[in-house]
Amino acid sequence: MSHDEKSGEERLVYMANQIAMFFASQPENEQVDGIADHINKFWEPRMRRHLFEIIERGGDGLSPMVLEAAASIRRPQAA
């Protein structure tokens, strides 16, 4: 395995921040909703569950906009 490879969680944080980065440039009233809507539409429950786990541990590395959007992200049902 190569040294620069990210773990699953790091990748998830990276992806969430990437989404936030796009919406950060959108009109202000669309930013947070845009992030939540995107994650609800495209992230399967397992990924969202991991995301909430990260947030509950303090959200290390996540952009503040993702944390703000978390309130509108659908919580997956227990597996």
Binding site: M15, F22, N40, E44
Partner: protein
């Protein structure tokens, strides 16, 4: 058995508002003004003898066989070059004409070998014409005048030229050439390559390729247009020479690229003799490329696996089993795994190489049979950003035009696509339009062929640094807005004006100016300004783009930036304009349409929509999960985590086509039941537990949907060598899992698609039979399909402008990795090459090469053809270098057609923010001299060898 015969009208159709009416041999006929007398006659049912004309190229008037008499005019004009005129009276058969024609034919025949095998086979129009004109004698003899054939005594005439058999697919025999120049014109007008010329005069004249080279060494791209045009056996398919003429034929669709060319598969029994492009095919209009016409040999290649196989562990040799055993093994494994690890532990991957019907069944198997939404497709790795971007801005996930549209374009902007290699038949049509005067803008890090090719030169080439598409496109918008070049009336009528204003103020920000963008992109500001002005003001502006747009971390943003440009300039909603993704594989469009993504049902309806789920729930009798399922990368992650255990992969080679080969390998290795359903033991099959043999496009019925949304029929011309078409295998699997599927023909699957998907509501096999093909949406509102979309307004209502801020990729060059690698494809090979590598096409591309600029090569002490090591943060591989100025300093380029190269070992795991389409087009690398393949390549080769063993022991009881 029937033979599809197409009428040759002698000269191309002419478009004109005015018509003329004339009388030919007593029959009155009305044709558009400018039509030749020859064509008018043919339309009236009269075939005038001819040798140097066909309806694909402009008439030349050299053979003098097509002469006619016109009342009141003197002489005997050639009907192919004389336009029909109002009120004239033409005779095509008179005593005088007969005598002239016989004289002409006699001369021709004296220079034509008496023993011409093509004549005997019926593949030579000479013999037919000699008969048609009633030639009975030859006063000139057979030998003397034939300068090009070997003299009877064995000594060669001075002008003898040898048979050219260098091309793997066709032969050129100068002795049979009558110098009608049809091939020269086909190469120029149809293909646009200009490889052929007539050299010499009189009896010495002959056709030569390139600088009097063998065909293979010349610039010939082996499209075969000249072979098809040749009226004699001078240019002939080797397959016809070997097998003789075909005796029946069927119209079908090429299974290689997203152009979706129609072909007549010309057969002898169960064997294909040749593929001949079909003139009524609306995507290709009778043209083709080397892959579609010639590279079908993989269908019968000895590597094809014809029996199902199973193994316990991937280190075991394969064991051949019966189909029944394979089905019940898969069913019991999938059941066990779902029981043990949960319903979501299994999934499926659909193929963009298989038919719509097959794709539909795989997603149905996953949704209905597995009870989850874990279905994805390899379109993820190529065009998922197209779906996202166009849906957001226009409201539908598809290109807006048909290919015919390019004939009305005035300015064509090509970005991140290399049509001459990736979409050759579209490229030929584009080049034709450019030769007529349309202007071209190319935005690409490489100087692709289109930038300068015979009689075509781009007005602007913007050689941007890989990864800066969004910056450059937004800078184009900056120029258009700041200089007031946008189409205000269009925007006010069709788009949301407030959103436009928001967008306009965004693009006007100083960081989006050409001068600011010049720094990041390396494109001089004045080039950006010039290109923007040309696109906005040059008339009908059309944008064509490819994987160089989508395979980036900002792929979706780039697609939206393209859509913004088209909307701002009013270049949408009529012929000649539009936004057109050039799709990679033959059925990428179709596989996306058919609900292959984990969040979407067929027709791009989100899985969370209750009404949509209800349609399928009542039809399929199951409850559908309203949560999106796993995408391919998620499946692999979940597999490594231990929660995903089984995968059914139809017709895709994810190990080779997906990014970060090691991650894919690790994911597959962690699964307990990987089922590969394919023609060959592909790279992914190295990690499979079950192998189900697949069938080729020649062996099944179905439909493919090309890049223009055109639904084309695929027709079975031979029995599946493996016994079953792919849709039948999926059906058997579903049955083994207890589902009551009872399709007896793919048309029934299409009926189900139509019944459940509004944009396909009107599609039936009967309609396809009648129309040849239709472009979706095809429903009550558009009963015969939709060539151009968004005509009166956008599908989503108002077109949406989206701000597109440039975000530099995190894949950055630095001291360790100072060069940027970008990847692409070449003409003769296709995708990961599993098919094309199993044809004679390998003569054009034996291995993947690394293109490097002379400056960078010299700095590193690399010479042409040296082995080099290509290293990135993700991994390293070795290949040979080729030194060229096509790439800018600082940029290197390679293709990914050969598994030994493993270019994806090097590409990183960065991906598009919206869709996770991998960022193949930008990888920071270092290149250094090396001695040969890397350890990984050698290990991998050994693994492949080991895992392809097939044990020939009796199946244990």
């Amino acid at each position: 058995m029937c033979f599809v015969n197409e009428i040759d009208y002698g000269t191309p159709a002419v478009k004109s508002d005015k018509t003329v009416t004339l009388t030919i041999d007593g029959r009155s006929v009305t044709v558009p003004e400018g039509t030749s007398i020859m064509r008018a006659a043919r339309e009236a049912g009269i075939a005038v003898p001819k040798l140097c004309a066909n309806d694909m190229v402009k008439a030349f008037g050299s053979c003098r066989l097509c002469l006619v008499e016109i009342e009141g005019r003197g002489g005997t004009p050639a009907s192919c070059t004389t336009p029909a005129a109002d009120g004239i009276t033409v005779s095509t058969q008179t005593e005088r004409l007969g005598a002239i024609r016989r004289g002409v034919m006699e001369l021709y025949m004296s220079d034509h070998p008496a023993d011409c095998p093509a004549c005997a086979q019926g593949d030579c129009e000479m013999a037919a014409m000699a008969e048609a004109v009633g030639l009975a004698q030859n006063r000139y003899g057979q030998e003397g005048a034939n300068h090009l054939a070997p003299a009877p005594a064995g000594a060669h005439e001075v002008n003898f030229k040898e048979l050219d058999i260098s091309n793997p697919y066709f032969a050129y025999d100068p002795a049979k050439c009558i110098v009608c120049s049809l091939c020269v014109r086909a190469c120029e007008e149809q293909q646009g390559t200009f490889a052929l010329t007539v050299e010499g005069r009189g009896f010495e004249s002959r056709i030569t390729a390139g600088m009097d080279e063998p065909f293979l060494q010349s610039e010939c791209v082996s499209c075969g247009a000249c072979v098809q045009a040749c009226p004699t056996g001078a240019l002939q398919e080797k397959s016809v020479i070997e097998m003789g003429m075909p005796d029946h034929s069927t119209v079908t669709t090429c299974a290689y690229c997203g152009v979706g060319c129609s072909f007549k598969a010309e057969m002898k029994g169960e064997e294909v003799v040749r593929m001949v492009p079909y003139k009524d095919g609306k995507a290709n209009r009778g043209h083709s490329c080397v892959k579609g016409r010639f590279a079908y040999g993989y269908a019968t290649h000895k590597d094809r696996i014809l029996n199902p196989m199973i193994r316990q562990r991937i280190s075991d040799p394969w064991r051949e089993v019966t189909w029944e055993e394979a089905y019940s093994h898969v069913a019991s494994e999938f059941r066990r795994i779902q029981h043990q690890y949960g319903r979501g532990a299994v999934g499926g991957i659909t193929s963009s190489r298989c038919t719509n019907e097959e794709t539909y069944l795989v997603q149905k198997l996953v949704r209905q049979g597995f009870g989850n939404n874990n279905v994805d497709t390899c379109a993820r790795v190529c065009h998922s950003p197209t779906g996202y971007g166009l849906k957001t801005t226009f409201g539908t996930s598809a290109g807006t035009q048909d290919f015919d549209s390019v004939e009305q374009s005035d300015v064509v902007l090509v970005i991140g696509a290399n049509p001459t290699d990736g979409h050759p038949v579209f490229a030929s049509r584009l080049k034709k339009r450019l030769r007529q005067g349309a202007k071209l803008i190319v935005i690409d890090p490489r100087r692709i062929d289109l930038v300068r090719t015979p009689h075509v030169e781009a007005s602007y080439h913007l050689p941007l640094r890989p990864g800066t598409n969004v910056a450059v496109l937004t800078a184009l918008a900056h120029v258009i807005v700041s200089e007031g070049l946008f189409d205000e009336a269009f925007v006010r009528e069709r788009c949301d004006w407030d959103e436009f204003q928001d967008w306009a103020s965004f693009v006007l920000q100083p960081e989006n100016s050409p001068e600011a963008v010049e720094k990041a992109s390396g494109v001089p500001a004045d080039l950006i300004r010039g290109a923007a002005r040309l696109y906005a003001t040059g008339g009908n502006g059309a944008i064509y783009y490819g994987l160089g747009v989508t395979e980036h971390s900002q792929g979706s943003t780039t697609v939206m930036a393209i859509a913004n440009l088209a909307m701002a300039t009013g270049n949408i909603g009529r012929p000649g304009v539009g936004v057109n993704p050039l799709r990679g594989q033959n059925n990428v469009q179709g596989s996306c349409d058919m609900g292959s993504f984990p969040h979407e049902m067929p027709g791009y309806r989100h899985i969370s929509e209750d009404a949509t789920r209800a349609i399928y729930e009542s039809l399929w009798g199951v409850k559908l999960d309203d949560e999106p399922g796993l995408r391919i990368p998620n499946m692999l992650d979940a597999a490594v985590e231990g929660s995903f255990k089984a995968l059914y992969i139809q017709g895709e080679d994810i190990l080779q086509s997906d990014p970060n080969t090691r991650h894919v390998a690790a994911g597959l290795e962690a699964m307990e039941c990987v089922v590969v359903h394919d023609l060959f033991l592909n790279e992914t099959a190295n990690y499979a537990h079950v192998f189900l043999p697949g069938s080729t496009f020649l062996e099944k019925d179905g439909t493919f949907t090309n890049a223009e949304r055109r639904i084309n029929r695929v027709r079975k011309v031979m029995e599946p060598k493996n016994g079953y078409a792919d849709w039948e295998v999926t059906q058997k699997l579903a049955q083994a899992l207890g589902k009551d599927w009872t399709y007896t023909h793919p048309s029934e699957i299409m009926d189900e698609i139509a019944a459940t998907t509004p944009s396909f509501a009107g599609v039936t096999y009967a309609l396809l039979e009648q129309e040849g093909s239709v472009q979706w949406p095809c429903n009550e509102k558009a009963p015969r399909g939709t060539p151009v979309m968004h005509m009166g307004g956008f599908v989503r209502g108002k077109g949406k402008f989206v701000r597109t801020a440039y975000v530099a990729t995190d894949e950055k060059v630095g001291p360790r990795f100072p060069l940027l690698l970008t990847t692409g494809r070449i003409l003769s090979q296709y995708n990961v090459g599993a098919q094309t590598r199993r044809t004679e096409n390998v003569v054009w591309h034996e291995e993947d090469l690394l293109e490097i600029h002379p400056f960078d090569a010299e700095n590193r002490g690399i010479r042409d053809r040296d082995w080099v090591k290509l290293k990135s943060r993700a991994g390293e591989t070795s290949l040979r270098a080729t030194i060229t100025e096509r790439v800018a300093p600082g940029v290197v380029y390679t293709t990914f057609h050969h598994p030994e190269t493993q270019a994806n070992v090097v590409t990183t795991e960065y991906s598009d923010w919206a869709t996770n389409c991998p960022e193949y087009k930008v990888t920071a690398v270092e290149v250094s001299p090396s001695n040969g393949p890397t350890g990984w390549q050698e290990d991998y080769e050994a693994l492949s060898q080991r895992s392809r063993r097939i044990g020939h022991v009796e199946a244990a009881e």
